[in-house]
Amino acid sequence: MATRLPKTDVVIVGGGWTGLTAAYELAHAGKKCTVLERGAFRHEVPNLQSPEMHDELKYALRYKLMMDTQRNTLTFRNRRDETALPMRRLGSFLPGEGLGGAGVHWNGQLYRPLPSDLRLRSHYTEKYGAGAVSDELTIQDWGVSYDELEPHFDFFEKVCGAAGQAGNLRGEKVAGGNPYEGPRQNPYPNPPMKQPLATTMFGEAARREGFNPFPQPSANVTQRYTNPYGAVLHPCTYCGFCERFGCGYFAKADPIICVYDRIKDHENFELRVNSTVLRVDKSPDGKTATGVTYVGEDGREYEQPADMVLLCAFGLWNVHLMLLSKIGEPYNPETNTGVVGRNYAYQTMSTTRVFFNGKHRFNPFMAAGALGTIADDVNGDNFDHSGLGFVGGGYLGVTQTNGRPIETSPVPSQTKTWGADFKRAVREHYNSTTTIVLHGSSMATRGNFLDLDPTYTDDLGRPLLRMTFDFPENDRRMSKHCTEQAVRIGRAMGGDLVEPSERASSSYSVVPYQTTHNTGGAVMGTDPKTSAVNRYGQAWDQHNVFVFGACLFPQNIGYNPTGTLMGLAYWTLTKIKSDYLANPRPLEG
């Protein structure tokens, strides 16, 4: 029997980027906010300090900052006619756990979506005709425009102290930036990262081949900076321990230093760690949520009543909680009805290795999470899709994120992966090989979705989330087309050997790391038949439940998701503060 606790105004599930930001904004709006985080408390000091943090085995291979799959995971299959089995270890993606969530071990690659990304189906249909979008795809518009979100992208870039080069300032093209980006009202708050040899060579070769390279937008800060909340960030040291690690230098924007530190002492803020939410509780008529029930630090169940419930867990677990709590109708792929779990998407990655056989010293260990030179010429609809047979695209780039030796053994595919030849090849190629990445979009289909597993359960006895996913034909074509461009640039760089490897050339596997960009499952939109929440992230049936995160994306864009999902978070929070709090009700679509 759960112990009933005193009521709070807002209960927030998850203490990462979206949850802590929601708490900051609503606490300052006069609402008592209670954040429930399933993982432990942690902080830059003392938990993320170097050199102890720079232990590749502990953090990058044994996942010390990530979710504990011993307690909770998901099951996976490629197709509905297969039996899903548990993802017994982390692999393809790495959700976080503990204060700050995945925002602690992210890379800080900070993008906005293209304006056309947000009205995807309309854009392609208008430009290329009704047949442009194949029947395989269930892609749709987001219900919110770039112009509506721009102030919020802008503000989150300031929260992070983002480093980059504007390419489109209030409609004026700016040399050196991304010429395809939507108009921005302000430049990035900090100058771009310094560029090392490999990314510079990529930029030069890409320009010669007719592409438009620009420095990767980065939440690794380039100079001492104070964010709008008063948090102080310091210059990135290019240490090469960024993704999968926390930043002890206070140089990578994360939710702990950028947000939590600035709200932790506020009278309206409370954080409870090691607290796993079991379900959202609903009123007898089902029209509102009454709070949540969770298992606390002491292992006992508590009922936390609240006026509002904000789902701010990692996207997958928001969907899990909605399915467990019956917030919205579960998606049924047979009848193509229901909405929760619908339009799960991912990211379509390819890597093209460029070998220089000892002719260069790239020093890959000098690196940062968002250190790179990017070309956006084959992203979104930045190129003519006529006759190509697919929608979408992705950015190409060389990103020098690390040279950590367990993870960095680039050898030509002809070389055996063990033995004397392997050892010699690692030695020869470690310092003179670079990689062009394709960071491709992922289109939603009827067959890719999330639901509850009928067999396997977590440590609290709840059904695991079940993922059914494979790369759609659309994305396989996209990957092939765009990877050919990567090979072209790799050859122009003068590589002795240029070897592409496409994830989408075979079926999706949950084993090798690809990205932690799991999207959809609780998508936003303007039609309750095809979206789980309205365009403000508000549940259609329970107006005091709001959903945050990449689970809102109707399909995935060709960019890293954090900039977009935080833009959406501020969009939702602004609507809550300016309208909903004074008059709680279902908001107009």
Binding site: K194, Q195, T417
Partner: protein, 242 residues
């Protein structure tokens, strides 16, 4: 300066390494004085029990990992302490299943669904190394050892209910883990693998070097706890955290 000279200035000494360097660095309460007095580089082997591996397992594992990373002008896997690394890792929480979802039913599935065996790493290695398919492996000639490893890699041979390909993939990965990870975990002795490829280690700060093209960065590597010149760094902190 050439940090790659003198790659083989010492002989393997797994127990000495464990007792002399690894264990104190990971145990809270051991001060710097105690650590400074423990044998490290070039210490003679000591006949004491390991943490996990039996002597027979140790002999077999030595032979296996030395075919994954054989000796050339740089140390083999076992010479760099990789068997010590296994011995210690298999006693850790990871060795006993941390980060591994263990509920049944256990079904083989397909390779894209990942590891599906019921065994923790310590159970996995104990079972696999006892299988008759590996009996006498350490006595085979290197070519015959490679032929057997290739059959495992191609999944043409299984170790009881452990598919050969699963065993090979995990063995190879854990061998690389030990060979290339920070020496506080027992492998990568004298940071030989880092010197081999030119990786400077855990003490990383390149704000003035990042945009110096073709820079020959020859600083000797430094681990979480040690530098190669024997200077102790941050040892008291290594036991912090989980």
């Amino acid at each position: 300066m050439d940090t790659k000279r003198n790659a083989l200035t010492w002989m393997p000494s797994r127990r000495a390494l464990l007792l002399g360097a690894v264990a104190p660095a990971l145990m809270p309460g051991l001060g710097l004085d105690a650590l400074a007095q423990t044998p490290r580089q070039g210490a003679p082997p000591r006949k004491t029990p390991g943490f996990f591996l039996t002597e027979a397992e140790e002999r077999l594992l030595t032979a296996l990992v030395d075919r994954i990373i054989p000796r050339d002008e740089w140390p083999s896997a076992s010479e760099a302490g990789v068997v010590d690394f296994f011995d210690f890792q298999l006693t850790t929480d990871w060795g006993h299943g941390q980060g591994l979802y263990r509920k049944g039913p256990h079904t083989a599935g397909n390779p894209r669904q990942g590891y599906q065996l019921p065994y923790t790493p310590s159970e996995f290695y104990r079972r696999a190394l006892a299988d008759k398919a590996l009996a006498g492996f350490e006595g085979l000639a290197p070519a015959a050892q490679d032929a057997l490893l290739t059959r495992l890699e191609k999944n043409e041979l299984s170790l009881g209910d452990i598919p050969g390909g699963t065993f090979f993939t995990i063995l190879r990965q854990n061998t690389l883990d030990g060979y290339f990870s920070d020496p506080i975990h027992g492998g990568n002795r004298d940071m030989a693998s880092w010197r081999m490829i030119g990786f400077p280690g855990a003490h990383a700060y390149y704000i003035t070097e990042i945009d110096r093209f073709e820079l020959d960065y020859a600083r000797p590597p430094a681990g979480v706890a040690y530098r190669t010149d024997g200077v102790l760094r941050g040892v008291a902190q290594t036991a912090r955290g989980r």
